[in-house]
């Protein structure tokens, strides 16, 4: 789950990290009032859950409240990578001398958090990592001890931070690490971390992604969750206990188990088709779950055929068959269905489905080929 910059900055400020004076605004009037209260040149920044908002015109500098009003008018309502801007953050413009990068995220290979610090800030850190890996200093603190003072010091020395900023940057690194821990973040990042002309250090931007698996113990953060239009179906699916990812093809996919569903998507591509979605009904799906999964997939207007691929372990083939039959009986689907049942109670499931208007195949490869073939046929009236 992603937080907005202004929400992340509030958490940083609470942890004692210096941030510029700023206010949130949802209208041009509010933005003007915010700029007046700040009483200095401001940056007006779109608050959307995507990167690259600066390049898309989502950040404008305003020298007066009137300019802030115009900037907010231009930014509010604009679409950045398909997301509508509903809020802007009006923030005192920093007197930037240099930009650093500071971030904390889990390192999968080392199985430790990694703290990264670089004097090449403001840029995409993956780009820096690819082109100038030596420009990023890294430290791997023990998750049992946290980022120790000596580790933070080693980082600022290794990154080549100027003498005057060493102590404040090391201090901010330790504070950011504690925010990372306290919020169960999967990413806590300050990029850029400004060094101002007077030598002070200030968080220019802030990114905080929270581990969805930890939201059960982060009730305050869980309240900040925003569901965009694109994600509505994914959220609905999650509430029903399965995971759904919208894709851009026309073969609807339902399967059990993430790996098997991924392999099914690949089989569809290898058969020359494109999957419309990823849908994992999870383990032990009952009739009702299969029914709602099928309804969600069929609700996508792009879908021209549906492939159901079940390898029964805890999931039973007869339960799956009953769910599918129920949909066929109550709302005959507008597109053809192909099913492949294997594993637990698959035989019983196939018996139930005998005579039903759908294609049944023995293997995943055959079922994928059939679903792709059907997706290219004209839609039934």
């Amino acid at each position: 789950m992603k937080l907005h910059e202004f929400q992340a900055k509030q958490l940083l400020a609470r942890a004692g990290i210096p941030i510029p004076d700023g206010r949130i605004a949802t209208t041009a009037d509010e933005a003007e009032a915010a700029a007046r209260a700040i009483d200095a040149p401001v940056a007006v920044k779109a608050q959307v859950h995507v990167g690259g908002r600066g390049k898309a015109g989502g950040i404008k500098v305003a020298k007066s409240p009137a300019e802030a009003r115009d900037a907010a008018k231009a930014i509010l309502g604009m679409e950045i990578k398909g997301l509508r801007v509903e809020k802007v953050y009006v923030e005192r413009a920093a007197q930037v001398d240099r930009e650093l990068y500071l971030g904390v995220t889990p390192d999968r290979d080392r199985r430790r958090p990694v703290v990264m610090l670089s004097t090449v800030g403001g840029m995409d850190i993956e780009e820096v990592a690819a082109t100038n890996p030596e420009k990023i200093a890294r430290g791997w603190p023990s998750p049992l001890l946290g980022l120790l003072p000596f580790e933070a010091r080693s980082l600022v020395f290794a990154a080549g931070v100027s003498e005057k900023q060493r102590d404040p940057v090391a201090d901010i690194a330790r504070r950011l690490y504690s925010v990372y821990v306290e919020t169960d973040a999967s990413l806590a990042e300050i990029n850029p971390l400004f060094v101002q002309k007077d030598g002070s250090v200030l968080a220019g931007d802030a990114k905080l992604d929270v581990d969805d698996n930890a939201l059960f113990r982060q009730p305050e953060l869980a309240k900040l969750k925003e569901v965009s239009k694109d994600d509505e179906t994914e959220e609905k699916a999650r509430a029903l206990g399965f995971s759904y990812v919208q894709l851009d093809g026309d073969v609807g996919i339902i399967g059990n188990g993430a790996g098997l569903v991924m392999a099914t998507l690949d089989a569809v591509r290898d058969a020359g088709g494109k999957a419309a979605n990823f849908l994992d009904v999870g383990g032990g799906a009952k009739e009702e779950v299969v029914r709602s999964a099928l309804e969600i997939v069929l609700a996508n207007p792009r879908v021209r055929s549906v492939l159901i691929n079940i390898f029964g372990g805890i999931t039973r083939g007869d339960e799956v068959a009953r769910g599918v039959l129920d949909v066929i009986r109550t709302h005959p689907p507008r597109v053809p269905l192909v099913i492949r049942l294997s594993g637990t109670e698959a035989e019983a499931g196939r018996r139930l489905l005998a005579g039903a208007p759908l294609g049944s195949r023995e293997t995943m490869d055959d079922a994928a080929a059939e679903a792709v073939r059907l997706a290219t046929q004209p839609v039934r009236a």
Binding site: N213, V245, A258, G259, D266, V268, G283
Partner: protein, 289 residues
């Protein structure tokens, strides 16, 4: 011989709820020695014929359990894993889905100074066909033999085990390492166990997009491989930035792409199947060489 578990494995169940008791019964049916379960406050009683204990340490004292299987729900899964590690259990298999990453970082930090091997979380467990099953896999798809099998996925493991079994290729030990980004026994470590196992003649490595475990496994096999291996990567058609069900299955930036994994295996001389159905044929060909 086999790795991780055999007919002498003595299993303790942590989390004897609905799922735990269902699978405990199926493990017993398979012949696995399920010697006890923990249920704080119910020590001294039994459930479904399984003796209950208040703590893991007590259960280990009374039953000589050397393996535990964790079904405890995500909020308390870290505690359950740490309790088993603290009691000196040799092998902990965690089935639980949805454990926070921060908790797994703590657990793996403790593992660094322990002798316990942790498999999972968020996996189907492990099975040495014909000897012991400590997991949730449908046993009928597996058969004893010489193919060692490591997988990040659950149902895909059943699918591939079924394909191997139908092709007459039995398995030495199948290890479902789990679909989370931080796990106890990452793919390269599981591959190392099978590479060192005399009963394993060939290794099947089933990976997914995300992370670099497959690249590291390929690198290890290139340097130390003693037997043929075959690989499969799920998620070749997945777009970047979309998490494919498993928390660990995501391509971010240029990290974790299927292309990079396929290339790593090919550079190590390990053939990569385009579909699960190609795996048995590739294994047979690799064994003939």
């Amino acid at each position: 011989m086999s790795v991780l578990l055999d007919r002498d494995t003595r299993v303790l169940v942590q989390g004897l709820g609905r799922e735990g008791s269902f699978h405990a019964a199926r493990m017993k049916d398979y012949g696995t020695k399920v010697v006890g379960a923990t249920k704080p406050g119910k020590g001294g009683t039994t459930q479904d014929g399984i003796p209950l204990f208040d703590t893991v340490a007590e259960a280990v004292d009374s039953t000589d359990a050397n393996t535990s299987i964790v079904f405890v729900p995500a909020p308390d899964a870290m505690d359950a894993m740490l309790e088993a590690i603290d009691a000196g259990i040799d092998l902990v298999i965690a089935i639980t889905e949805g454990v926070p990453v921060a908790d797994m970082l703590k657990v793996t930090a403790v593992l660094e100074t322990a002798t316990t091997i942790l498999v999972g979380p968020n996996g189907p467990g492990a099975i040495t066909p014909g000897q012991a099953k400590v997991g949730i896999m449908p046993a009928e798809n597996f058969s004893p033999g010489g193919v060692g099998f490591v997988s990040r996925s659950g149902t895909l493991t059943y699918e591939i085990a079924d394909l191997l079994t139908r092709a007459g290729l039995g398995q030495s030990t199948c290890i479902g390492v789990g679909g989370d980004p931080i796990i106890g026994l990452p793919t390269p470590d599981a591959v190392r166990l099978l590479n060192e196992d005399p009963a394993t003649e060939a290794i099947v490595i089933v990976g997914e997009i995300g992370g670099s475990a497959e690249e590291r496994a390929a690198e290890y096999m290139r340097a130390e491989g003693k037997k043929p291996a075959v690989a499969f990567i799920a998620g070749r058609s997945a777009p970047p930035g979309k998490r494919m069900g498993h928390a660990g299955a995501i391509v971010s930036g240029n990290q974790g792409t299927a292309e990079s994994k396929v290339r790593a295996f090919e550079e190590a001389g390990i053939p990569v199947a385009n579909a699960p159905s190609e795996i048995p044929g590739l294994v047979k060909r690799a064994l003939r060489r």
